[in-house]
């Protein structure tokens, strides 16, 4: 990825792939930030497979994902093409069962 346009099409393709996508700092196995780690832990705990995308690997991606969602922070979880939220929202939705419903 060498520019914002490429970053945007990469993000768009991933999001619309209908899989569960987590844009995060680090990888699912080696998160580089507590918030990213917490969200991937939650997904693992409820047994949901997901693809973690490390935004630290590319500066266009890092800024691009914030522009894409118009949301200032990372991690960002997308389920079935929809932006669900970051750590606070995902944790709360997992606790009250709303998150699990999104996968049904």
């Amino acid at each position: 990825m060498n520019n914002m346009d490429e970053a945007k099409s990469f993000i768009d393709e991933k999001v619309k792939s209908n899989k569960t996508i987590l844009f995060m700092k680090g990888s699912a196995d080696f998160p580089m930030c507590g918030f990213s780690g917490r969200v991937s832990q939650i997904l693992k705990t409820i047994g949901q497979e997901f693809e973690g995308i490390n935004i630290l690997e590319n500066d266009f991606l890092r800024q691009g994902i914030k522009d894409y969602s118009n949301w200032p922070t990372i991690p960002q979880l997308y389920i079935k093409g929809e932006f669900v939220g970051g750590c606070d929202i995902v944790a709360e939705m997992a606790q009250n069962g709303e998150l699990q419903k999104l996968f049904e």
């Binding site: 669900v84 606070d88 939705m93």
Partner: protein
């Protein structure tokens, strides 16, 4: 002259403050400026006036998804999030959800 020096000194102070920190009162003011009928609780998590936990209770969140409710608050905090506010843990409730929370 003295007045000028005094003025630039206070402008300097304000700048330092804008860049480095934000108080609980300012956070509440920002949020209530956008969500006029809201109850806001903000807690400085680290004692450094840049990491906050914020609870917002407002019926504007009624029938909105979590992410939509959070967006309303994030919009209100757009300016401080660009500068002094580094990390924000956010919880949103409607008045009845808050009542439930208090009773549980």
């Amino acid at each position: 002259m003295i007045r000028l020096v005094g003025m630039s000194f206070s402008v300097g102070l304000i700048l330092v403050k804008l860049v480095l920190m934000i108080t609980v009162e300012e956070i509440v003011k920002h949020i209530q400026g956008h969500l006029t009928d809201s109850e806001v609780y903000a807690k400085d998590l680290t004692g450094t006036q840049d990491h906050y936990e914020v609870f917002v209770i407002c019926d504007d969140f009624e029938a909105k998804s979590k992410i939509a409710a959070h967006r309303l608050v994030m919009d209100a905090l757009k300016e401080p999030l660009k500068g002094p506010l580094h990390a924000l843990s956010l919880k949103t409730f409607t008045k009845s959800q808050w009542q439930e929370q208090m009773n549980s």
